[in-house]
Symmetry: C2
Subunit: 281 residues, 2 copies
């Protein structure tokens, strides 16, 4: 059975995304307390797969994960997109008036900012994980405390849902990357369905260097779905570029890479995989 390291504990959004991606096979999820731990476990065990959130339509790119990815030997073997809908959950029998403290992951707290503003005086406590907040409350029998988490986590830990859909913006989607060690990535290659790639490159500080690269890509009918200049830590305000592209013709894509590579330095293909369709709202 395939083992997949996830960030978070049982019931978390990463588990939901991993099970969605591997819908047709049995998987075992290995909870990790942080993205650092996830990448460290993958580095220690090349057989292990992983899944890591990389961007969210509200919070934007998760830059620390970009950094961990580029420092690792992991390759992207696929992507999964998930609509994120948060609930407020507490011990059975609790009412909203009983709640004096809300716990969750900082990004989930931010995503529920408007809802939290309707609860003046509420103590907000940052935790490592949305599902972990639910488990803490369940295991500690913590009356007066609620978690912001997914409905899956509330159900798994036997909490009662006090409010559903408390995220400020309903257009709240997270994109996850499926990862494998570079020595295993070839096993997951599926050329017939490969239509997306994630690229990373550094550019010399000459004017127009990025426009040359993008122009070459467009000459070969490569479509850009994301571009982000990343700070290069240690060289302030200089940037590396992270680019996602989609394409119809794999041969044209190969030619585009061959043509663009000499215009860059540190050119890396982080992964070639099948694009995930956008989920419904």
């Amino acid at each position: 059975m395939e083992q997949i390291a996830i960030q978070g504990i049982a019931g978390c959004y990463h588990e939901t995304a991993a099970r969605g991606y591997f819908a047709d096979r049995e998987i075992e999820v290995l909870p990790c307390l942080s993205f650092d731990e996830l990448f460290a476990r993958m580095a220690a065990d090349p057989a292990l797969l992983g899944i890591a959130a990389i961007e969210n339509t509200i919070a934007g790119s998760l830059l620390p994960n970009h950094e961990l990815l580029q420092q690792s030997r992991a390759r992207i073997i696929g992507e999964q997109k998930l609509r994120i809908s948060h609930v407020l959950a507490a011990l059975p029998g609790q009412t909203p008036d009983d709640i004096a403290e809300v716990r969750s992951h900082p990004i989930a707290l931010m995503q529920c900012g408007d809802f939290l503003k309707t609860l003046p005086g509420m103590k907000i406590v940052e935790r490592d994980d949305t599902a972990g907040s639910a488990r803490e409350i369940a295991e500690g029998r913590l009356a007066g405390t609620a978690a912001i988490c997914g409905a899956d986590a509330a159900r798994l830990y036997g909490l009662e849902i006090l409010r559903r859909g408390i995220e400020t913006n309903k257009h709240n989607f997270t994109r996850f990357l499926l990862l494998a060690d570079e020595r295993r990535a070839a096993e997951f290659a599926d050329p017939a369905h490969t239509d997306k790639a994630s690229l990373l490159f550094t550019l010399p500080h000459t004017r127009g260097s990025l426009s040359k690269v993008l122009t070459v890509l467009s000459f070969y009918d490569i479509n850009l779905t994301k571009i982000q200049s990343l700070p290069i830590i240690g060289r302030e305000w200089e940037y590396r570029f992270y680019v996602d592209v989609t394409f119809d013709d794999p041969m044209r894509y190969r030619q585009a890479i061959d043509a663009a590579r000499p215009l860059t330095s540190d050119f890396r293909i982080l992964g070639e995989y099948a694009e995930c369709p956008n989920p419904a709202i």
Copy 2:
């Protein structure tokens, strides 16, 4: 005296940045509890200036502030860059062994991740503000609790610094934008020193549309210092582009804008201002 809305309370990094920018004149800072409040106060009072962090070399872009900026009538009149160095501060007489809880802003907590890992079992509590955490501890005489904040805040609120330089990465810089209502922006125009601009545009979903825009900019000797595709909320996985450019010749810059604009939709100049030199480490 010029009034400037800052995010955070007296002693916070925003105040340090504002006073650094207006080093040659008296200013009065108006503390705001959130960026939402800062933009709301500026909208209510067109005479008010503002300062808002927009990116950090570690945490990356602050996407919610991009969103607030583009929905506002504010213009960028300048930028300030600040090296961020955090301290751990507590009531005078406390030792590190006395501390059971650390409070700070979620981004500051993240930036001190390695330091916090050396304190197993420590309760980590998210607060609105780094300086606010220091003030809470001082006003509440909270023994056993420490704040992660700037040295300015620790000094202002009479806390003792237990540890300095606890940020994981010393290459920790934040870039702040100075903001004025569009009706006041012209007062701050300084054509002789204007060499940077922040642009925002949306592109049609045709291949090569971004490469065309960047190629035109490069034809006119415009240098790209930052590019970021921003999610358009409500249109998932479609992107708006936020681009910072620098230039030597203002006439060439004008010509470049005139040439690039028809290739885009929703083209906006968020501000034209003087580039801030990079601070020393």
